[in-house]
């Protein structure tokens, strides 16, 4: 069974829980309901032999509702097929942990919590993984400035802001393409 057939089978099995499917250059994506995401992922592991969780990531669609989106990349070493499962989640709501399905999800979910501030219900050890306990922000959220924010935890760590003026990493917001939005593309008189 290839990935396209698996997508069809999942749609038949879970019906309305699969909201839509996307196929782009041979990659298959399922947009699913957050409420049934865990059941679908468990079915993928148990019945469809997706034994490898490649990655968990998250997106911040600031200004849209629901704000966040979870992305699960799964793969099977038996059939060598790759599948992507996405589910949107509103701000402040917990996502179900999948660390009981794939143990490797433990650290991936800690990273999502650390960087994006999405909590996972049922996670055995939800601590920050990159920043220190007590750091007050979630740095990969869209409303967190690229330069950072000052913070201070005596005897543990501190942060400051980085100078960004005219650096190559600042892009101005807007609808233009990157050539017009990035300052290094500007012509200096």
């Amino acid at each position: 069974m290839n990935a396209a057939q698996m997508v069809t089978a999942l749609k038949e099995k879970f019906g309305d829980a699969v909201l839509s499917t996307v196929e782009f250059r041979g990659e298959h994506t399922l947009n699913v309901n957050m409420a049934s995401a865990k059941a679908i992922l468990k079915y993928c592991r148990d019945e469809m032999n997706f034994d490898y969780l490649v990655d968990i990531s998250s997106l911040d669609h600031m200004g849209q509702e629901p704000r966040f989106e979870m992305v699960y990349e799964i793969y099977g070493y038996g059939h060598l097929q790759h599948l992507r499962v996405k589910a949107v989640i509103p701000d402040g709501e917990d996502a179900p942990t999948v660390s009981d399905i794939w143990p490797t999800a433990n650290w991936h979910e800690r990273e999502v919590w650390d960087m994006m501030g999405i909590k996972f219900s049922g996670h055995p050890d939800l601590r920050r993984i990159l920043m220190w306990e007590g750091y007050p922000y979630f740095p990969l959220r869209k409303d967190f400035p690229l330069a950072g924010k000052p913070s201070e935890m005596p005897d543990v760590a501190f942060t400051g802001t980085a100078p960004l003026a005219d650096g190559p990493f600042v892009t101005s917001p807007g609808t233009g393409d990157t050539v017009t939005r990035e300052p290094r593309a500007k012509r200096f008189e």
Partner: protein, 176 residues
């Protein structure tokens, strides 16, 4: 028979060995600068170049600096090689505080000197925000030749310093 010229001098080098007249500062600095023991604070890719400098092709030991000490208590010069994240910053400071005087610091590469390309929430914008830096080495990462040049400049800097008031500042502050 005419006596040889040296026997007329007050000092006979054949009997008493060689003597060099110098200042105490110069003598102490000469000893210090020729046996710098580095503390390799390797935090990123600069550390790879630092290791290359210590290996046979570039050979730091030509300058008396090959004794890399992983204990700060035995080191003279801390080479901060790489990106100093905020999470690591206080650890670097703590290791620096454990080094006995006289001690020097080299900021190797763009990241240690200024944060480099990491203008971000996670990276300290130059180790000189926390500890005094003697030599900055440019490059991303600097080649081993640049590190050697930096260390030789540090040697020249040590030559010109006062061996007590400048190199033992913490002790001087304690006494005063």
């Amino acid at each position: 028979m005419v006596a040889p010229a040296e026997s007329l001098a007050a000092y006979d080098s054949k009997i008493e060995g060689n003597i060099v007249f110098t200042k105490l500062d110069s003598a102490i600095n000469w000893m210090r600068k020729n046996s710098l023991w580095p503390m390799p604070m390797g935090l990123a890719c600069c550390a790879i170049e630092m290791m290359a400098s210590a290996c046979s092709r570039y050979d730091l030991s030509r300058f008396g600096m090959e004794v890399m000490r992983f204990s700060p208590r035995q080191a003279d010069v801390m080479i901060v090689a790489g990106t100093v994240t905020y999470k690591m910053a206080l650890a670097v400071k703590r290791i620096w505080d454990q080094m006995p005087e006289p001690k020097w610091c080299i900021a190797m590469g763009a990241c240690a000197s200024s944060g480099g390309m990491y203008r971000s929430y996670a990276v300290l914008q130059g180790i000189d925000n926390l500890i005094p830096v003697d030599i900055y080495i440019s490059g991303c990462p600097p080649r081993p030749e640049a590190l050697l040049e930096g260390l030789m400049r540090l040697q020249r800097k040590i030559e010109g310093e006062s061996s007590f008031t400048e190199q033992k500042q913490e002790l001087v502050n304690e006494l005063s």
